[in-house]
Each structure stands twice: as C-alpha cells, then as structure tokens.
C-alpha cells in the first residue's frame, strides 16, 4: 500500500463508529452472500450409499436418488428424506427454508407468528420471514452497490467534462441535466414497468438513467473551481496531458465531495428499490424483496412481526452504510489527517491569518 493509502486506512480505523460499522456490515453482508448455506430448502450436502452429493450447487432429480419422478427432488418431502436416510445422512442448513419455500405443513391462519420453527414468523404466503430478510438483504445491497457504481461513473465523467471544459459544453450539459432531472422519475419507472416485466438488470438500468445526476453538480463545481488553480497551470507548464491533469490534479479534489454523496446515493438506491417493490413495480415475484415484505406487513397489520423485522433490517442496513460512508469521507480529507491542534487553531483565527 502507498503511504497515502496507509494513512487513509489508519484514519478510517481511527473512526471507531465507522470501523465497527464496517465490521458489522461486512459480517452481515458476508453471511448473506452465503445465504444458501444458512437458509435453504435443500441440504448443503448428503451422503447416500457412500456417495457425497451437494444439492446447494447441483440439481438432482428424484430418480437419481432412487425415487420415481423425473423432476427435481424435494428434499423436504418425507418420501425423499426417507430415501436418503435409508442409506446415509443429510447436512441441513440452520434454517430449512429458502425465501420462496412455502411451508405447507403449517396450520392456517397465515401469516403465523414467530416460533421455534419460523424464528421471525412467516408472511402471508407462509414463507419464512428470516429467509426472506436474509436473501432480500443480499439482493438490496448488491443492487445498491451496482447502481451506486454506475451512477458514480457516469455522474463523475459528465460533471468532470462539463466543469473542466466549461463554456458551451457546460451550458448545454447543464440544460440537458436540468430537463432530464425534471422528468417525474417514479411515473416513468411505473410506466416502464407496465411495459416490460422488470428483471434485476432491467431495473438497474432504468434507475441508473436517473440517479447519475446527483453527482454532476458537485463534481462540476469542483472542476470549475479547480481548473484555473495554479497547480493545474503548473502541471500544464510541465507538459502534462489534459486528461492526466483532470485525473491526477482535479479529480482527487472532487473525490471528497463525491465520496460524501456516495453513501447517500447507495442508501437512496436501496430505498428506491424497496419503494418500487412495495408498490409492486419492482423485482419479479420470485425474487426476495424487503419492499414486498413491507407491503405484506401493511396488508397484515395484525401480524406486527413482519413489519418489525423488515423495518429493523432496513434501518440497520441504512444506518451502518451511512456510518461507513462518513468515516470514508473523513479519511480522504487530508486536512484532518494531521491530528494536530495547530490546524484547529489556524482555522479558528479570523481570516485564517496567524497574525
């Protein structure tokens, strides 16, 4: 790691709240990435007749296990269980339900309250809430991260070009952004969703069409300010290419502003996805969704465990991300890097003059 990177890393670590939030979020996200090993309706592995099989990774038909049907084995079927356990054993995940597993054995009425069988109860379709939250968390974070990355790339590029080139480019670019920002985004998304059956990537693209604008303003302002700085002139005098100047001298100055926005964009992306799901214009029905769980909670007000669980998950996720974002932002600020009082004093003096 370069000394710069090391110092930033140390700065980040010095921020206790951000540092613990990162660990907690990392642990949660890591766990959710392995959701199939934690909550699944098939065993992680089973041995049958001395042969190991891994249903998490591979699909086996019932016939392969010695049954009759050509379809995929349903491991929760007592018949299939008996087939395997007759000559071997199964390693089950902690929770024996995936997000889309319907527990037919449960007594109505659905949703059923938390129990030893369903830790956080079930939703209106008798699917396990814990499994939905686990898979939904993973999907939300992945969606949010992808959307943030895409919007940051587009936004920074557009803002940088506008600010650095200025003049007519800037004038036209700003007007386009203004018109584009004037579109009623939610309605456009609803109309688009009614035309096309949205998938993960389709939704990602649709949201990226609008979310890139958040960064254009700040990045443009930073570039506009910095393009006439003396260090930019000095670099030009050294013969450095314009693109390199933009990247090396101006972009880092815009990065703090950008990073300040990123956690909000990430949170915004997750919230938008949740909102669309809640309204029923989001991801396809078979995908796990925090938003749809919330809408289930709204329809089943007599089952508060659904709403509480979904709320707690969303709140935790969004709060942790903000804390991490704050710590990253501070770590990238070189003026905070010197943990000395003299800086604070200099800032405290009127006009920053030391006398």
């Amino acid at each position: 790691m370069t000394p710069v990177g090391r110092r930033r890393w140390l700065m980040f670590k010095a921020n206790r709240r951000g540092w613990y939030s990162l660990w907690l979020f990392g642990a949660l996200f890591g766990l959710s990435l392995g959701a199939e090993f934690i909550a699944n309706d098939r065993p992680i592995a089973f041995a049958q007749g001395g042969e190991w099989r891994f249903p998490v990774f591979f699909t086996y038909t019932e016939r392969e296990l010695g049954g009759k049907l050509e379809t995929e084995a349903d491991y929760r079927d007592p018949y299939v269980m008996a087939l395997i356990e007759a000559d071997g054993w199964m390693l089950w995940p902690i929770v024996r339900y995936a997000h889309d597993t319907i527990d037919w054995d449960l007594e109505p009425p659905y949703p059923s309250p938390p129990s030893a069988r369903h830790w956080l109860g079930t939703d209106g379709l008798s699917a396990d809430n814990f499994a939905i939250l686990l898979y939904g968390f993973r999907l939300s974070v992945l969606f949010g991260l992808s959307l943030t990355l895409i919007s940051a790339l587009i936004g920074v590029a557009v803002g940088a070009l506008q600010g650095y080139l200025g003049g007519l480019t800037d004038l036209i670019g700003q007007r386009v952004v203004e018109i584009w920002a004037g579109l009623p985004i939610l309605f456009v998304l609803i109309i688009l969703s009614s035309l096309v059956e949205p998938s993960f990537f389709w939704l990602l693209g649709a949201l990226a069409l609008f979310s890139w604008m958040a960064l254009v303003g700040v990045v443009r302002a930073e570039f506009l300010r910095a393009r006439n700085f003396e260090f930019v002139l000095a670099a030009r005098a050294l013969g450095v290419r314009e693109l390199t100047i933009m990247r090396r001298h101006v972009l880092p100055n815009a990065m703090v502003a950008t990073l300040t926005y990123l956690p909000f964009i990430l949170n915004g992306a997750i919230t938008t996805l949740t909102a669309l799901d809640f309204l029923g214009f989001g991801l396809p029905l078979e995908s796990p969704s925090l938003g749809r769980l919330l809408s289930q909670a709204k329809m089943n007000l007599h089952a508060p465990w659904i709403g509480l669980a979904a709320f707690a998950t969303l709140a935790t996720m969004l709060t942790l991300l903000i804390f991490i974002g704050e710590a990253v932002r501070d770590a990238f600020d070189p003026r905070r890097a010197v943990a000395g009082g003299s800086q604070a004093v200099a800032a405290a003096l009127p006009g920053g003059a030391g006398g």
Binding site: A234, A235, N253, G341, A344, A348, G354
Partner: protein, 532 residues
C-alpha cells in the same frame, strides 16, 4: 501618570492546548502610533483581536492577563459593554478589503448602518455624515460613490471605505491589522499617508499590526516586536531600528533582501526573444455581438539574455503575470516567441510539450500551486513522468531527492503532503518541481511576495545560488523592487501592458527616467542614487 487608553498586561491566549500568546504586555496612548511587528504566526493579530474580545470563544481562552480600555476591564466584560466599545470607542480595519465589506450593500448603507445603530441618527442625517466621512478619507467622487457596491470599487477605494466606516463613530483608538498588505505598492503609500493625516487630525491612538518593517519605520512612534507569542523587544522607533537588542529583531532587520545579482557573463547570447507580443482577454459578449478584447500585454519586444535575470516590475494589472503565462504558452497570445532561435509560437501538440521541459514556472502562492492531495514526491516527479517515460521509479525517486536537496529540503520529506510544510518550504517544493526537469529558463512570478521577510531573503539567496550553479535564466516578476534589485541584471518596468522603461538594472535604479518608476521605488523605500 494616567493610564494609557489601551493597556494590555500579561495577556495569554490559549487555543485548545496551544498558547498562541504568552504574557504579552503593551500600551497605546491617545494620539500615538504603536506597531506590533512580527511574522505570520507570531500572535500579533490574536493579541489585537483579544483587545476587543473578538476571538472565537470559548475555543479561545485567556488563562491569565488583563486588557483595559479606558480604564475598564475587557476580559469577561458584559456583552453590552463590549458592544459599546467595539465600533464606538475602538474601531478596527482589516487586511482584506475585498471580504471585509458586505458585497450586497451599497457604500452608503454599510457606513450608515453603524451611525444609525450606534448614534440613533435618522437616515437622512446618516447619509449626510457618510458623505462627509467619504470626503474626509479622500474618496474621489464621493457623492457618486455613495450608491456604489464594493465590487465597483478598486482595492484602494475599498480600503478607504473601510477606514471611513471605522471612523464613523470617531473612535479614540483605531486598530489596523495589516491595512495595506493586500494593496498595490503605490496605493499603500497613499493609504498610509491618509491614516497618518486622520490620526493627527482626530487625535486617536493607532495600533498598527504589520509584518512590513518598511511601513512600521514610516509610521510608528513606538513598536513591539513579537515572535512565537511573546513580545521580545519594545521601544521607540529609533531605539529598535538603530540599536536592536534582541537577536530576533536583529535577524528581522537584517532580513531585507540584499546582495547583488550573480555576476553575469559579459557576452551572453539571447535565450528568449519576444517580438510584437500581444495577449488579450475576452471581455464579455453581447447578444450576437463579437467578443470585445481587452489587451493585457501590448506589442512587446523583449530579449532575455542566457544565464541572466530579467526583472519585470509594475503594479498589479500592469500585465506582468500575463506576460509570464503568455510566453510559456499557457494562455493564448499573438506574436513571436523565439527560444534558442526556435519558434515556440508555432509549436503545437507534442512538439510544444517537448519544449516545455526547458521552460518552467514558479508561482506566487505557495499554497495554491501545489496539489493538496499529492505527496511531495508525486508533485516533483510529475514532469519526469511526462518527459522521461523511460525512467524507473527508483531513478525518478533519486532525481526527486536530488531536486529537493538542491532547494534545501530533506529528501526524506518526499512522502509528506504540502500542508505539512511552511510557506517558505512550499515555495522550495515549487522550485524543486520546476528544477526536476533541469530547465534552462524559469519564470518566477512573484515567488517571494506571499512569504515572511526572513523567508523572502532565504528564497532570494536560494534562487541566486541556483542561478550561479546551473547558469539558469530567470524572468523575475515582482512588484517589490527590493527583491528585484537583489536578483535582476536587466529591468523592465511595465504599466498597462506596455513597457515604460527598460535597461540595465543598476542604470534604472540609479537614474529612473519615469515618474512611475520613481513611485514604485519610493514605495519600496528605495531612493535613486543619482538623483538628489
């Protein structure tokens, strides 16, 4: 003997864990001018601000000491008393006339406001009194200026408005914090004369805070020398200037840039030649209309001899910086630029980039000219990455270390960031960046004006040493003739984009031909030798 109007005793100012002022004591009586002298960071502004309790409390605190104004204790005084003293009995003017005035209010309103609040005057009376004040500070066309906004005024005019504002309530003490630092040299002299005139007329005390010994020598009856938060010497002007007792004062007085330029080669060839050189800026654009051009440099012909320094002097706005940027092709220009006989003005793209390694620039502001987010190594090696793409990182680091050593910095400091260095050190980094490519020609755009006196002298010494060692050619731009005299072989005096006087440096200094040059020299405290 009666107590002086302002009496500060054993004053301490603490910010967090740092004592910015340690046991300062000073007095200002009626009708006398007292100067607090020191370099930046010496605590002189903080001392003055604590007299009016204007520090950011509670972040700042006074562990000990007393400040008495007109016999009343100010530290811990009631807010009502402080308000009555501030702007009433004691007024203050600040360094930066640009930011000290509210840009949204007209001149009449800025001044009238204090009259209306402090004196309960009617609007009409306030306006009359404002006009009187503006006339008193010799603002031209005072009547028309009443409705002007700050951006319509020049720096000197703004400072006059500031002074008028400070005088509105006929204060008994005026605190002037570097009142002329941000102004042009010729305007400086006029503002100082105005302050002196007003002071004798109104009999107020004047507490002048300055780093500029030239100004203090002209103005002060008594002075206090501050360094590191302590007052190390005090006494009458004569005492301190003629028999400085403390080592620091002696150093400060000896720090005037001095010495002669490096002896020049007698028959030096011409390194750089400008012919009919013009630079103009676009100024506004009407609907469908053509851009109006405002010329900043007009029809300049100039020869720079190899291994020598050409000093370019003039007020701000005279086009000297524009000239420097233009001849490096950093801004658009017309006319011929010949470097070693090669037509620089015809070069484009990579051919121009290839030439850049021979011509470098050092800027005025050591804070603004270094990327705050790059380490010193990255900053200094930037040119090498462009012009020596074949170099390995180790070779580059070696060259960076060499360049840093050359300018008197430790090569170990390579990994640090600009904000960890003082102004003088940063300027050394800027010079190292320019030197890393081993150029032949350097444009030095006021490289010393943002620095403290003692540091200025060091930078001048460094530049001279580098020139002697490497035979560098300098184009040295400055408004400070003291510095120019210590470096330049030839001199060009610019005004409004044109050369008004040029020649060998000694010749110009000994017998300036134009009034303008004489004014510039007077402002720097220089007197032509040949003219009595």
């Amino acid at each position: 003997m009666a107590e002086p109007f302002l009496s500060v005793r054993d004053l301490w100012v603490r910010f967090g864990a740092i004592d910015a002022v340690r046991g300062a004591s000073f007095d200002v009586g009626q009708g006398e001018t007292v100067a607090l002298v020191g370099e930046s960071g010496s605590g002189k502004s903080v001392s003055a601000l604590s007299a009016l309790q204007l520090l950011p409390y509670p972040r700042a605190s006074h562990p000990r000491g007393s400040v008495r104004i007109g016999g009343r204790e100010m530290i811990g005084a009631h807010a009502a008393l402080l308000r009555a003293v501030r702007g009433g009995e004691v007024s203050m003017i600040f360094q930066e006339p640009m930011t000290s005035l509210n840009p949204l209010h007209s001149v009449a309103r800025q001044i009238g406001e204090t009259l209306i609040t402090h004196r309960r005057m009617t609007r009409k009376a306030a306006r009359r009194r404002t006009l009187e004040l503006l006339e008193r500070v010799h603002l031209n066309d005072a009547e028309q200026r009443l409705n002007a906004y700050p951006h319509e005024l020049s720096g000197g005019q703004r400072q006059r408005v500031m002074i008028a504002m400070a005088l509105a309530n006929e204060p008994r003490l005026l605190i002037a914090d570097e009142p002329t630092t941000a102004l042009d040299v010729t305007i400086q002299a006029r503002i100082l004369a105005l302050l002196r005139e007003l002071q004798t007329e109104m009999g107020m005390g004047l507490l002048l805070i300055s780093h500029d010994l030239g100004i203090v020598r002209q103005m002060a009856d008594r002075l206090y020398v501050m360094t590191g938060g302590e007052i190390v010497e005090s006494g009458s002007r004569q005492q301190v200037f003629e028999q400085p007792r403390h080592a620091y004062t002696q150093r400060l007085l000896a720090a005037e840039p001095s010495g002669a330029p490096v002896p020049a080669q007698p028959a030096a060839e011409t390194l750089l030649r400008l012919k009919e050189f013009n630079v103009s800026y676009a100024q506004g654009k009407g609907w469908l209309g053509r851009r109006r051009q405002r010329p900043a440099v007009r029809n300049l012909d100039l020869d720079v001899a190899a291994g020598q320094t050409l000093g370019v002097v003039g007020e701000s706005g005279s086009g000297k910086t524009t000239l420097g940027l233009g001849l490096l092709r950093l801004i658009r220009s017309q006319g011929a630029i010949e470097f070693r006989g090669r037509a620089l003005h015809e070069r484009k793209g990579s051919a121009l980039v290839a030439e850049r390694r021979h011509l470098q620039i050092v800027f005025q502001d050591p804070f603004g000219s270094l990327s705050p987010r790059l380490s010193v190594q990255r900053i200094v090696e930037e040119g090498l990455r462009v012009h020596e793409p074949g170099m390995t990182p180790a070779q580059r680091a070696a060259r960076v270390g060499e360049a840093l050593q050359e300018v008197g910095l430790e090569p170990e400091h390579m990994e640090r960031y600009p904000h960890e260095f003082s102004g003088g050190q940063r300027q050394r980094i800027c010079i190292a960046r320019a030197l890393a490519l081993r150029p032949e020609f350097l444009v030095l755009d006021e490289p010393t004006s943002a620095l403290d006196r003692t540091v200025q002298a060091q930078i001048v010494d460094l530049l001279r040493a580098l020139q002697a060692r490497h035979g560098l050619t300098y184009l040295f731009i400055s408004h400070d003739l003291n510095v120019v005299r210590a470096l330049a072989h030839h001199l060009v005096v610019m005004k409004d984009g044109e050369i008004v006087e040029q020649g060998r440096a000694e010749a110009v200094f000994n017998a300036p031909r134009t009034q303008y040059t004489r004014e510039l020299m007077a402002a720097a405290g220089l007197r032509p030798v040949g003219v009595k």
